[in-house]
Symmetry: D2
Subunit: 340 residues, 4 copies
């Protein structure tokens, strides 16, 4: 599989490594708005620098990986889909739910085979937890709890263009909830605050938030986010079921335990997403290749991408209004606007 | 200190043991609506069986421990306070917030020296966590998370008279939130469900609930309750602060780890509150004796008892209405009604 | 059961508490070479101060607990046995293996019903480990490993009269090996050193030692001792079997975990034997009472006490000579000398 | 750096991956006694198949990695050293201590820059433990304990040609002891058994062994080996020092914990050396490249390889004779024989 990479930034580099080290895919071209970025990456991997349009138009290229800025995702997904490419696009689909819905409409039935990069589904521990649920190891799931803290907040300048905590950060957890619970919630209730840095609040965003999701069958999920956990990247999932509890805990940097007069101490969690999720990015690419080869269903698709974005939209509204938001209202409004 | 025990049920027996094994207190009398209960307990401890009224009227008795049914708590607190007794009353103060507010008004300034039995504050691990927070070990607290699952639901008949999940079970966690956060929240948002047993839902209650508490200074707390965790009594507290995370984890029945071809397994959490909190009940009594002796402030008093009850009232309303509830509305209404 | 306590020192006080809080035993008398010690204890428990001889001679007393200095154990065991008392004697039986063998001969068949206070057999975690082995949960046991470190070395003055590391400290671990393996080893190979404190070496003893035990059926056990573990009392047992591994780990002071920029830290192990083994001392007394009442076999008897002492003797010789020592040689020599 | 790989078996493949994925090394040729093996590997990596002699003779090749059968190691080390190649040779140097000593003599001062593949030194957890020791985090080291169990015994046919447990398996742990303790022991005392499989004993070898190492400065180390741990590859190191304890624990397959009515269970340790030590093999190669480039000292060299082999020789003799063996005796005898 000949692959073009759109976007040579931090996350593009991660994907380049996964693409080139996979035995059945080859990185043949890369594009970036900053040509220097593309050049640097191209040299490392021995591939061409081209424009995104050229890559999409090149019939010798089988697949594109979209790792460009978020506001270009929908256009590139549509163009690549029209051009018959297999597509793996970084999350989120878009910051605008209407635009995402429009993208869904525009790609039509191809939506089910366009992959959205919710890499955490491919984390070995979250995967093992999901497998255990599906195998009935804790019976019927009842209460899901996701803890997801970043080690340090990004610059406020980034916050301002990020779409906000729910669309930028918690969107991963919304997808995780959908992955674990196997269905979308019916309502979303969010509480947000800026206790970490008032400047984040002044920019209209939150740095700390709790979201409760209610499901039609009575199940409940709760997601906690903070932009700052000084001990590292805290990524945990916990599910209570009729037959027990499953917890996916943090990976630590190493397994050394030191006992001294001060206490018993171990290493910290792996620092951030590159350290924690590198195996997940590789597994994600492998899953994409297999699905493109028809060996399996596309494991997370454009519908999933839009579903998580709709939850982020609902949570954003709920956190600002202080009232729970029904998912059906958010979805109907988006579809209505998009139809206009 | 000569002590009279009002109530010789399951929890009364726990307290009898703590009272009699303390070097500075003696159990001298016990009452119970079922005289057989009182008789059995009195024999074991070599004390008298008397009515609650007689015990309260007896000027040779210094203190009473109220472990009777909840609907008698307020009356007995008032009577014992009038009679000049030191008082330790089991939680909750009452199921009715108005009655609790009236009790507060009736005992006047004695409220600060009447102890309410929120035993978990005396658990060694929760105590160590609180001490670490007060010592600034994780900086400024930002996000509190309490997990509190019972091993198995009580009979539905009990549920019906319990006052509901929030007043009966989560009230402990509301007090824990007040203990950890050091102030009351300004609003309460609750989501409840009956995924464990539909019969609990049919009885008008919930068996699974998530409550989010918002504080005036922007901090957030979240409490998760379930009536069923088949692996035992799950009692955990976790606080994120500007300088780190504190977690109080479960105590296990023993420290044996077994590694076999099937996995690596340890013992389960201690089964239920008697196993988990026996040291806490002893420490609670010791703290009460010290406070009565003037060596320390009463560590948890009638105001604290009413504060937790008000949060339970707010959560109950929120879970039924689906809307967040402001604490000020609940408190004003209660005080208004009480004034009528 | 009316009980006389011989010895009111530190460990005597621990036993006094266990005796008096047991529903079926009462502490009626106490003796001590320092009458003040006996007086203080007697006041706390409302019992008489008498001489050891008087207590042993008193036909109204059913049982004696011997917690006097080691060099009086054998005499007191023999006297109490002659007087028809049930006996629980602190470890070790004696510092002299010959004297212990003579004691065994002198009490005759009563040896099987005289209990020696190897309290660790009654620790909940070691007990659970043994139960799991007996239930076949790891198949056939193959390799046992015992880690046993004290928090800090005793004064060198104590070391000089202690009988040495192997008779004073590791004797507990020899008994634990016998408990877990269910048979005595055939040979003992010891390596000792004084890396903690050269003064201990100058006094002719070791502060750090490793002992390997070989069994007739090919199984192996290894015991590690150190007089100093600055993080607390380190008491672990680990058994590899054909079907898996069992580990009994340390108990921590509480379950709080703190994650900061420096690492992830938990509480230290409980500090020393009083903290760690208090439940074991209570369970030991309960087991003794039950055995005296004929409800069960005496769980650890004079033969066991002598067996552990013989292993300590063998280890002492091996550590000094640098050569492995056959148990049969130690036992034959002791019996030969005793016969002389 | 252009690299030739001698040996295309299981471990050769591991190295091929490390060599080819390193940015500053390229795999240019491979040899194997079974040409099919070499062919298969060469196709995967796009390199040539040649004989070992040809590779060593080719002046365009900078380095060779020797992953051939053990009995060829010394000859290939000598040939490659003569040819001026940088050399990384798999452990052990040889099964014969005399041959290894001769190799040392033959390569002369190049011995310090020939690397021996003790991959465990490059394991992130063992490395972090060593770093902590060197930083003085537990003060002066006193007692080292290494647990090293394989998941399942190899076929008896392999055992027969392996050189025995101590030269084949425990040699890794001898090197780990040298790495941690920073010096060689003065005496070795071994106890071996065949409790796992009597056929291993019948073949003259052991499947279970405990070795005690004594150091000139009084420190002690103990190593435990078993050929069978049904729960996986058990690789732990624990060091007691004057200031505390350091433990490097097992890596688990994932971080999922399942709590059910049966207990609290986590994943097993990573299964075997390929799973556990893959990052170590990569780090080993990186360290070799850096040392060859002169950026650092060769981290483990031919002297280290011979030192571990001498300890294996001593342990083998001790386990068979039942007597401790002085290292000086083993070394003098080897040097004497070699001189003959």
């Amino acid at each position: 599989m000949r692959v073009g990479l759109l976007g040579a930034g931090r996350i593009g580099k991660v994907h380049a490594q996964a693409i080139s080290s996979h035995p059945e895919s080859a990185l043949v071209a890369v594009s970036d708005a900053f040509e220097k970025n593309a050049q640097a990456l191209a040299e490392g991997y021995g591939c061409q620098v081209r424009s995104s349009d050229e890559i999409i138009a090149d019939s010798s290229i089988d697949a594109v990986l979209i790792a460009t800025p978020t506001d270009t995702h929908s256009d590139l997904i549509e163009a690549a889909a029209r051009s018959g490419k297999a597509v793996l696009c970084e999350k989120p689909v878009d910051l605008s739910l209407e635009r995402a819905h429009a993208c869904l409409a525009n790609v039509g039935e191809k939506a089910a085979s366009i992959m959205i990069g919710f890499n955490r589904r491919f984390d070995p521990s979250f995967g093992a937890l999901k497998t255990a649920i599906d195998a009935g190891e804790i019976g019927k799931t009842e209460l899901l709890s996701i803890t997801s803290f970043d080690p340090a907040p990004p610059p406020v300048e980034y916050i301002k263009v990020s779409g906000g905590l729910f669309r930028d950060m918690m969107i991963h957890d919304f997808d995780m909830a959908n992955f674990i619970m196997g269905q979308a919630p019916v309502s979303v209730s969010a509480t947000g605050s800026s206790v970490v840095d008032p400047a984040i609040g002044a920019a209209g965003d939150f740095d700390t938030a709790v979201v409760t999701l209610s499901y039609a069958d009575g199940r409940i999920a709760v997601i906690k986010n903070s932009r700052r956990a000084v001990y590292g990247y805290d990524q945990r999932v916990e599910v209570l079921g009729s037959g027990g509890l499953l917890q996916a805990q943090n990976m630590l940097e190493n397994t050394v335990v030191k006992s001294t007069a001060e206490g018993v101490c171990s290493a910290k969690p792996t620092y951030f997403f590159l350290e924690r999720y590198m195996p997940a990015y590789k597994a994600e690419w492998t899953a994409f290749v297999e699905a493109v080869q028809g060996k399996s269903k596309m494991p997370v698709n454009l519908y999933d991408g839009v579903a998580a974005l709709a939850m982020a939209e609902a949570a954003t509204r709920s956190a600002h209004s202080g009232q729970p938001v029904k998912m059906v209202d958010v979805l109907e409004e988006s579809e209505r606007r998009e139809a206009v």
